[in-house]
């Protein structure tokens, strides 16, 4: 924040903004190279918010508006959970809760060749990575990491998946680990996959455990850290009583 001599623009950082708010004025900044993330646009010398959310800043020069939505806007590099909607000769069509269906090329798997093409039924849940997200084009997915390894990406078998807001999924992925997952992890062993598109997959030893974990996560959106811990404690006590 050193590069802003006047105090006023800096005061917007970590504060809620509304569409139309001028959050930065380039003309009174010494270092005029900044990187804009989602929810901001440049209008001549001013940077204007176009979504309601919280303005975030990381050094040296990145700005973005953090929001929580029900619909996901694809972004390169995001790990998401998608559901296969259709399969074509070269691509699977995958629903990632975005504006359009995403393409998953049949060769975008570790060691993928024409010879061994994976077969997915419609409705299969996949953990995938967004590799292309251009406006006016369907986003493209991949089941490998940047070096071509499978690296946890792929089909999610069994378990239970549910939808949430993008804000909640970002909270679950945050480090230090969010309270609800930390508390649950102390008492219950379970598997979880969180997609940035607001989809969560949970698997555990028994259906009742899966229900407890997924309910705890869904309820945690409207609770503070302390409240989350209390809620998880109560759930686990109930679980012990009933078993």
């Amino acid at each position: 924040m050193e590069e802003k001599p006047s105090g006023s623009p800096a005061s917007f950082i970590d504060k809620p903004v509304i569409p139309g708010d001028v959050v930065l004025d380039l003309s009174d900044m010494t270092n005029q190279t900044i990187k804009l993330g989602g929810g901001l646009r440049q209008d001549f010398d001013s940077i204007v918010a176009m979504k309601a959310g919280t303005l975030r800043f990381t050094k040296p020069n990145k700005y973005w508006v953090e929001t929580s939505q029900k619909r996901y806007v694809p972004c390169v590099g995001d790990s998401v959970l998608g559901i296969v909607a259709d399969s074509r000769a070269d691509n699977f069509l995958v629903d990632i809760k975005g504006p359009t269906l995403a393409y998953l090329p049949v060769l975008a798997f570790e060691g993928g060749t024409r010879r061994n093409i994976p077969k997915f039924e419609v409705g299969t849940l996949l953990y995938v990575r967004v590799v292309k997200a251009n406006p006016g084009m369907n986003p493209e997915l991949s089941c490998t990491d940047a070096s071509g390894k499978a690296a946890e990406y792929g089909v999610l078998k069994d378990g239970y998946n549910f939808d949430c807001s993008t804000g909640l999924s970002r909270m679950l992925l945050r480090s230090p680990r969010c309270p609800v997952l930390e508390e649950l992890g102390k008492k219950i062993s379970f598997e979880i996959a969180v997609g940035l598109n607001g989809r969560v997959w949970v698997n555990a030893g028994s259906p009742s455990l899966i229900i407890v974990v997924s309910n705890a996560i869904m309820n945690s959106e409207s609770l503070t850290g302390v409240q989350q811990r209390i809620m998880v404690d109560k759930l686990i006590q109930n679980l012990k009583l009933s078993s």
């Binding site: 809620p16 919280t54 619909r71």
Partner: protein, 251 residues
Amino acid sequence: MEYVSPEGLRLDGRRPMEMRQIRGEIGVVDKADGSAVFEMGNTKVIAAVYGPREVPNRSQQMNDRALVRCEYTMANFSTGDRMRKPKGDRRSTEISLVIRQTMEACIMTHLMPRTQIDIFVQVLQADGGKSRCLIAAIGTRSACINAATLALSDAGIPMRDLVTSCSAGYLNSTPLLDLNYVEDSAGGADVTLGIMPKLDKVTLLQMDAKLPLDIFENVMQLAIEGCKAVATYIRQVLLENTKQLEYRRGT
């Protein structure tokens, strides 16, 4: 009829430059991507936004910008007499068009090419008496636009600025802010204005009567003030919502 008493009070006890009570709430429809309820006095409107999503009708798809659609309906129970109105009558078509054009001006459609944004607006409760449905419908325009703005920003659709709307009129040689049903049906001039408050731009201006230019300017100025007051309130609602999320996430 006397619409402003000698003491300077209107029929519902407001001052000429006083607005009706406004209230807004977002996130009321679970399935929608964004939704809001907006109340202006006795008028209550619900708005739901879906999108950006794929265009079902390929022939309507535009390669350089998003398609914005708007559907305005009045609930059968919204007025005193229960009326079965055919869907798509001329009045609702007109108001749908007005809302669509107003919102399209603020949505950054070029960022979402080949997609569609649907705005559904329904009047739950229309201010007004028994059967004068036309006036009741006209009077809900500003509430509809305000509800749509809230719902759009709840959906996180990129917008240039908020659009807020308010009406003003001229009765008993007094400019009046935010006409209610009785004043609306008095037959005087009625100016509905929509502005983008931060950019200071007008996106909607409608008037159903004639006014001398100097008086019109006064009335319009009053409507602008009203719009700005609505904008301040809508800002508060959105800020409050963001703060809530922030607080809950314990940052």
